[in-house]
């Protein structure tokens, strides 16, 4: 089944309208006392979850908004926010 995503402005749309923006790793770490290794980990290291993960997406062919949503990487379907997520 083809991926569909729900843009907060345009609503549910074909996944081909969007560009993947990577895992949503939370807010940028505080630069004070940040070591190069920690920064490298934040930028490059991913969890590659087999299951539901929070991701950034860009509505490239639509409104141009960046947003985050949840996708099950096993079924490649957008899912509701898991209850145990922060």
């Amino acid at each position: 089944m083809a991926l569909t995503l729900t843009c907060p402005i345009c609503g549910k749309r074909n996944g081909y309208e969007f560009r993947y923006g990577g895992e949503d790793k939370g807010s940028r770490p505080d630069e004070k006392g940040l070591s190069p290794a920690d920064w490298c980990d934040y930028v490059h290291m991913n969890t590659c979850t087999a299951g539901v993960q929070k991701e950034w997406w860009f509505h490239r062919d639509g409104c141009g908004a960046w947003f985050s949503t949840y996708r099950n990487t096993l079924s490649n379907l957008e899912v509701d926010r898991p209850e145990d997520s922060t």
């Binding site: 402005i9 309208e17 639509g62 409104c63 908004a65």
Partner: protein, 217 residues
Amino acid sequence: MTDIQRYSPVTFESSVKESEVRDNWKIVLAYQNEGPGPWLVDLGHKTRWDLQDSQIDDPSQSGLSVPSSPGTCFLAEKKLINRMNRTQTAIWHLGIEETIIPDFNGFTDVTESTVFLALFGPDAFHVAEKLTALDLMDPARTTPFLLQGPLCHVPCQIVILERHADMSGGFIMTCSRGYADSMVQAVLDSGREFGLRPAGETRFADWVRKVQNQTSN
């Protein structure tokens, strides 16, 4: 000094009945045999601005009141203001008056970087539904409203100005300039069975006047 010449990316094969030169654009006012509709009008010469700013909701910054939520539009004094997202608004001038871009660095004149077309008249939305999966007849929306998404697989901004249950009404749309030839060919080809024909600016101006009167009433 030689005047510059400005060219629309769109050309129609129909014979020109009446035209004029305005602000260095050659503008077709009417074509021969425009038919009973629907009509496709090239609006490439109409001024379009893009406004981007983090304080877009504050009219004291840009000098412009923009709709508060993305996807909504204002149509007043032949000027259409379309809120695109949190930080961006498109301003389309539909009249023939000369425009002066405001002295604010959030504005960019994008007139010559995009295609600008109007498709309106009877069966306009029958033509549209052959071209896009977007729901132009969404009953949850009130005209005028903005849809952003693919039409003929090309990312477009589409503003629905008028629509009726019999699929008449119309919309105006923009996309990147390079798509002009293939976009016009696809739209005219899709509309052939409904009698879609190119029309001049006069017919568009009459339609916008009618829509604006309905909106203000």
